[in-house]
């Protein structure tokens, strides 16, 4: 038993309650896996800030809280209508919607999916699919495992499996929404997403985590993505969780030759938010870009922890993360790049820029390069700064109010990432969320 877990009996009760409610076709296969994972978690516990990879993110309060499993009861959709409408506005997409962890059939695409796009949930897992799925669920993370991955497996609930057939291009984004509006304390939600992008397939995937309410909850999500040879996936992850939410997002990507994976990650604040991104460039000439914007105030915290492994020749990785940090908020960025001896002609570049809008705001940035090949190009750069006082004065001298001038400058800072990475409706969708966040909660008290 890991000494960090003080609330073990409550956790065991929650897990028993969870297993008892599992009435999906997945149950006979998954039950053993979930029990094993729970036992593993009991040994591993929650990650500790004593571990180097977890220096900046503290989740130890969960060891004392009584985590409760969010039930399977059908949610009251009227409560979610507004969230759903706001989240889908401005983005024409195929929808898959969860409310408090339960799939909402009324709002999700049933028959309307395009040819070549296959979507499964726990409700329609069959033996054939399970055979493909099991190795993914049991797979070890290459670059270090921890308790949250086991915990996700133990409580695995919103399972979504996506498969895009070879050489198929999906015309519209697939938008998966996780809407939370809980009045109950300490709910744990454990979404699990597996994506197979088959050879030459193309798709845009949007994940939105949107929360409301004053209660603390824990979204503990895990995603595995396989981008096969010559396939490409654009992946937007939008984390607009409620103020008190905690969010762990484990994201594991494996890429084949000449494949392309582009992540755009937007975080508009949560009590604690940690993204673990592990991208393995396992095929020659594969390309990945990891981009992100975080806008934080109050006592919010975001930790973008990224690891890119260049395994083969001529692989390219790009990272560009920007944080706007106000109040007493804190932002961290870690960019590990590991270049294998075989990965000659690797081209890796990363940039992290932070803008602090208050005296108590903090930013930590850590590039970590491990290079075992001799013919490589690896660049990294980081900045921590404040709003340009000259620019602020210039705008104000033209009659633009201090508040509006700050909003314009912060938006301009943050948008640089979106301007480079996105275009069209995806760009506008992201920009309106960032703008909205800057208009609410980034007032004069931040200065």
């Amino acid at each position: 038993m890991n000494p960090s877990i003080e609330n073990i009996s409550e956790l065991e009760n929650a897990h028993a309650a969870f297993l008892a409610t599992q009435e999906t076709p997945l149950k006979p296969w998954a039950e053993k896996l979930q029990q094993t994972a729970f036992d593993e978690f009991k040994t591993q516990g929650f990650p500790s800030t004593k571990e180097d990879n977890w220096r900046y993110t503290n989740l130890k309060h969960w060891a004392q809280e009584s985590l409760a499993f969010a039930g399977e009861a059908k949610p009251d959709l009227a409560k979610y209508q507004e969230l759903f409408d706001a989240t889908r506005a401005g983005l024409d997409a195929y929808h898959l919607v969860f409310a408090n962890g339960v799939l909402v059939h009324e709002w999700s695409e049933g028959q309307g999916l395009p040819q070549g796009l296959h979507l499964h949930s726990a409700a329609d897992v069959d033996e054939g699919l399970w055979k493909k799925l099991q190795p993914v669920l049991e797979k070890d993370w290459r670059l270090g495992a921890h308790g949250l991955q086991s915990l996700n497996k133990a409580f695995m609930q919103q399972l979504v499996v996506i498969e895009v057939d070879a050489d198929i291009s999906i015309d519209k984004p697939l938008h998966i929404m996780h809407l939370v509006s809980t009045e109950e304390k300490n709910r744990i939600l454990s979404p699990r997403l597996v994506v197979w992008q088959r050879r030459g397939a193309k798709m845009t995937l949007v994940e939105s985590y949107v929360g409301r309410g004053e209660e603390r909850y824990f979204t503990n999500s895990m995603t595995d993505i396989f981008v096969a040879e010559s396939a490409s996936l654009k992946h937007l992850k939008i984390q607009a969780e409620a103020n008190k939410a905690n969010h762990y997002g484990g994201l594991n990507i494996e890429q084949g030759a000449a494949s392309r994976y582009e992540l755009f990650s937007l975080a508009t604040g949560a009590e604690v938010l940690r993204n673990d991104v592990q991208c393995v460039l396992a095929g020659e000439e594969s390309y990945c870009s990891l981009d992100g914007i975080s806008v934080l105030s109050g006592s919010e915290h975001v930790d973008n922890f990224t690891q890119i492994e260049h395994q083969q020749e001529n692989t390219v990785s790009r990272e560009f993360y920007k944080n706007v940090v106000g109040g007493k908020a804190s932002a961290s960025f870690s960019g590990k790049v590991y270049v294998h001896p075989e990965a000659q002609k690797t081209d890796a570049a990363q940039t992290n820029k932070n803008l602090l809008t208050s005296k108590q705001a903090r930013a930590n940035t850590r590039p970590q390069l491990e290079i075992y090949a001799d013919d490589v190009k690896c660049a990294h750069g980081a900045t921590v700064g404040q709003l340009d006082a000259n620019a602020l004065f210039y705008l104000r001298s033209r009659g633009i109010t201090d508040k509006e001038a700050r909003r314009m400058l912060l938006l301009a800072f943050a948008n640089e990432v979106a301007d480079r990475a996105l275009s069209g409706t995806l760009h506008d969708y992201v920009q309106s969320i960032v703008n909205d966040r800057l208009e609410h909660g980034f007032g004069a008290e931040e200065s």
């Binding site: 006082a389 000259n390 620019a391 104000r396 001298s397 633009i400 109010t401 800072f413 301007d419």
Partner: protein, 256 residues
């Protein structure tokens, strides 16, 4: 319109303005000339409300109210405009969006509706033609990558759009070639009217060939040491500032 009375100001503990008095009535264009370090730019910055300048004495009355108590944006709303010596580059903020925001802020202050996008474009394009500005500058970030001349024209463009009642031009001529100077001056002249006062801060007489001032003041050691008409500027161009310094020193000795 603009009455500066015994204005003293410090920057980082150094006194720059030294009981400066100046009166610019409505309808007039006044020029302030003076050697390097005489306080010309400090005066412009104090009038526009920039941080880092501490007013230690005196007052500035604008249309009867104290200007110094107002925030920079409030001064702009009241019709005060400073054309910057060094216009600021603002990456990521679109120039057209910026101009429209500034215009709408003024309109809002006057209780008017926001200008619609089409009308704004018409307005801005006519002003740009007048300044012979390339329209692509509208789609770029504010001043980012603009040449020196383009930046100065962009200042005058903002002035023409905002139509201030009191415009202060801080060395708008610096870095301009003769053609650009003529164009910028014609933009300023277009704004001359009986309701407006314009204060031109400059090193060189050349600009005053195109923007002919009603009065010329010489600023030295933080105060106006002499004033005259446009011929004073010509004399300065011809003889430099040395003779004024001598006169001032003689006066001081005579007083003693």
């Amino acid at each position: 319109m603009l009455e500066i009375k015994n204005l003293s100001a410090e920057v980082a503990g150094h006194q720059i303005l030294n009981s400066l008095s100046l009166n610019v009535p409505a309808g007039e264009v006044h020029a302030i000339m003076g050697p390097n370090g005489s306080g010309k730019s400090t005066l412009a910055h104090v009038l526009s409300g920039r941080d880092g300048y501490e007013v230690t004495g005196g007052d500035v009355k604008y249309r009867g109210q104290s200007l110094l108590e107002l925030e920079p944006e409030e001064r702009a709303h009241e019709g005060v405009f400073l054309a910057f010596q060094y216009p600021v580059e603002i990456p990521g903020v679109n120039n057209a969006y910026f101009l429209r925001s500034a215009l709408n802020a003024a309109r809002k202050h006057r209780g008017e509706d926001e200008i619609d996008a089409f009308d704004f474009l018409e307005l801005i394009k006519s002003k740009m033609s007048m300044l012979e500005m390339d329209k692509v500058l509208l789609d770029r970030a504010v001043n980012e990558g603009f040449s020196g001349g383009e930046k100065k024209r962009n200042e005058i463009l903002q002035m023409l759009v905002l139509e201030p009642t009191c415009a202060i031009l801080d060395e708008t001529d610096s870095g301009l070639d003769i053609d650009a100077l003529r164009i910028v001056a014609s933009g300023v002249n277009a704004l001359r009217s009986p309701e407006r006062s314009i204060l031109v801060v400059t090193h060189y007489q050349r600009l005053l060939d195109y923007i002919v001032p009603d009065k010329v003041h010489v600023l030295m050691d933080g105060k106006i040491v002499t004033s005259g008409d446009k011929d004073l500027a010509l004399k300065l161009e011809d003889q430099g500032y040395g003779w004024i310094e001598k006169e001032v020193n003689q006066e001081i000795r005579a007083e003693a």
